[in-house]
Symmetry: C2
Subunit: 249 residues, 2 copies
C-alpha cells in the first residue's frame, strides 16, 4: 500500500502534525525496531550517505523491512538544522498509554525538550518505562525531545493529562513521592521504599518547581544541596532520584 506522503509534503515539525521524525542513523534504527508501534511513512537518505558496514546499511535495512525509502537532499534542508544527519525517519505519532501496575514518573509542566529527552533516557536506564506529562508542557513528540532521548523515546510509554488531579483520580491507589525544594524528607534518609504498592515520582517545572499545594498529595522529598545554588537542573535532580529509587523496582 503506497502512502500519499511524498517528499514535498513533509514540513518541519509542528505540534499539530500527525507525524514526527528521527534525525540521524542511530535514532532511525531505534525507530525501525519499533515500527509495529510507530508506523513509518518514509525513510529519507541523504545523497552523500555511504553505508559503513552491512549491519548499519540503511539501504539494506529498508529493503529487508520493506520500508519506503527515498534519496532526497531537500528533505534534509527542510527538516534538519544539524550537520552530519544523513538519515531521517518519518513516522506516525501514536499514544502509548502508561500501565497502571507499574512505577510512574510524573512530570508537571516540563518546559525544556532537552531535559524531557534526557529524563526519558535516564529513566529508561534505571528501569522506568511509564511517563505522565501534565500539560501545559513541551511536546514529547518534538524531534528535539526524541533526539535528546537518544532513542529511549521509542521504548517508553506516556500519557498526557490536563491536570495532576485528573491523573490522581485515574490512578488513586499509589504511593506518591513529590520532589520539592522544601520537601520534608531527605532523599538520603528515605530507607523504606515501597515493595508492593506501585509508586509515582513527581517533578515540577524547571523554573518554578511543584506548587505548594502538592504537599497534600503525598510524601515530599528534597535532594540535599548547599545554598550556593537555587536548585538543581531538573534532569540532574531526576537522575539522582531515579538512581535512588531504581533499587525499589
Amino acid at each position: 500500500m503506497e502512502r500519499k506522503v511524498n517528499g514535498m509534503e513533509i514540513k518541519r515539525y509542528k505540534h499539530d502534525a500527525a507525524y514526527s521524525y528521527t534525525l540521524g542513523m542511530a535514532l532511525t534504527i531505534e525507530l525501525i525496531s519499533q515500527k509495529d508501534i510507530y508506523p513509518i511513512r518514509k525513510i529519507y537518505v541523504h545523497p552523500d550517505y555511504v553505508p559503513k558496514d552491512n549491519k548499519y546499511n540503511m539501504f539494506q535495512i529498508c529493503k529487508e523491512a520493506q520500508l519506503p525509502m527515498e534519496v532526497n537532499q531537500k528533505a534534509f534542508q527542510r527538516l534538519s538544522t544539524k550537520e552530519n544527519v544523513y538519515v531521517i525517519g518519518i513516522f506516525d505519532k501514536r499514544d502509548r498509554n502508561i500501565e497502571p501496575g507499574k512505577q510512574h514518573v510524573v512530570l508537571v509542566n516540563p518546559s525544556d525538550s532537552g531535559n524531557l529527552g534526557t529524563i526519558l533516557r535516564t529513566g529508561l536506564g534505571f528501569g522506568f518505562r511509564d511517563y505522565v506529562i501534565i500539560k501545559p508542557s513541551v511536546d514529547i513528540y518534538d524531534p528535539k525531545t526524541i533526539r535528546s532521548s537518544m532513542g529511549a523515546f521509542f521504548h517508553v510509554r506516556f500519557t498526557c493529562y490536563d491536570s495532576f488531579e485528573q491523573y490522581r483520580q485515574r490512578f488513586s491507589d499509589r504511593q506518591i513521592y513529590l520532589f520539592m525544594l522544601d520537601g520534608k524528607i531527605n532523599l538520603k534518609d528515605l530507607k523504606e521504599r515501597p515493595r508492593k504498592t506501585p509508586f509515582s515520582l513527581v517533578f515540577g517545572n524547571e523554573g518554578s518547581g511543584l506548587p505548594e499545594i502538592f504537599h497534600h498529595y503525598g510524601d515530599s522529598i528534597y535532594i540535599e544541596h548547599n545554598h550556593e545554588i537555587d536548585s538543581l537542573n531538573l534532569s540532574v535532580a531526576f537522575g539522582i532520584a531515579a538512581n535512588a529509587f531504581s533499587e525499589s523496582l
Copy 2:
C-alpha cells in the same frame, strides 16, 4: 580610569577574545558580585529594560558599584540570540587556579558547553569548587557555558591542562576515582570514602568516555544501569556521583 572598549568594539564571543559576557539580569548580578576577580568592562542595558524593584535595579546597582553602564540596543542584536535578555555584562577573562588541598572534579575533553555549565552548577551545589579541564574541550568562558551554569561559573576555580598526565604529575598525592562504563566498583558499594587525602573525580567525554588506559590511574567506578541505554548523559552521571561523594567533603 576609562576603558578603551566601547559598544562598537564588542563582538560576538570568540575563543581567543580577552573578554566574555553574561546574558541576562540574574547572571550579571552574579558577575557584579565577583567584580574583584573578573574586572567588568561595561554593563549594557536594553532600551526596553524596566527595573522591577530597587533590589534589582540595574541603573542603581551600576551607580553604586561605579560600573560603566550604557543603554544600547545594538549590543543586544550582536551578542544575544535569546529574547528576554535586557542586561549584558562584559568582563575580562581571568584564570582562577584550583587549590591543591581541595577535592577536584576533572573533566577529560568535555565537548558540550551546556553539559559543562550544568556540571559547574551541580558541583557547586554539592560543594565542589575546583575544576580541571583536560584539553581539547569546549571553552569554559563561552557565554553558553556561563549561562547554563546559572552563575555557578563565578563561584568556582578552574585550570586547564593539555593532558591528564600533566595534571597527575602536578597533583600526585591524591585518591583518583575514574567514572567508566566498565568500572570495577559499583558506586553504590563504595562505602569507604577518603576523609583525609584529597580526591579527584574524573569523567570522560560525552561520546567516548574515558580511554581504557585510565584504569591504571586509580579506582574505576560505574553507575549501575540496565542495558536499554548505552550510557547516562554526562551531566546526569556527574550529578549522581557528586551527590554520592558530597558526604565525603
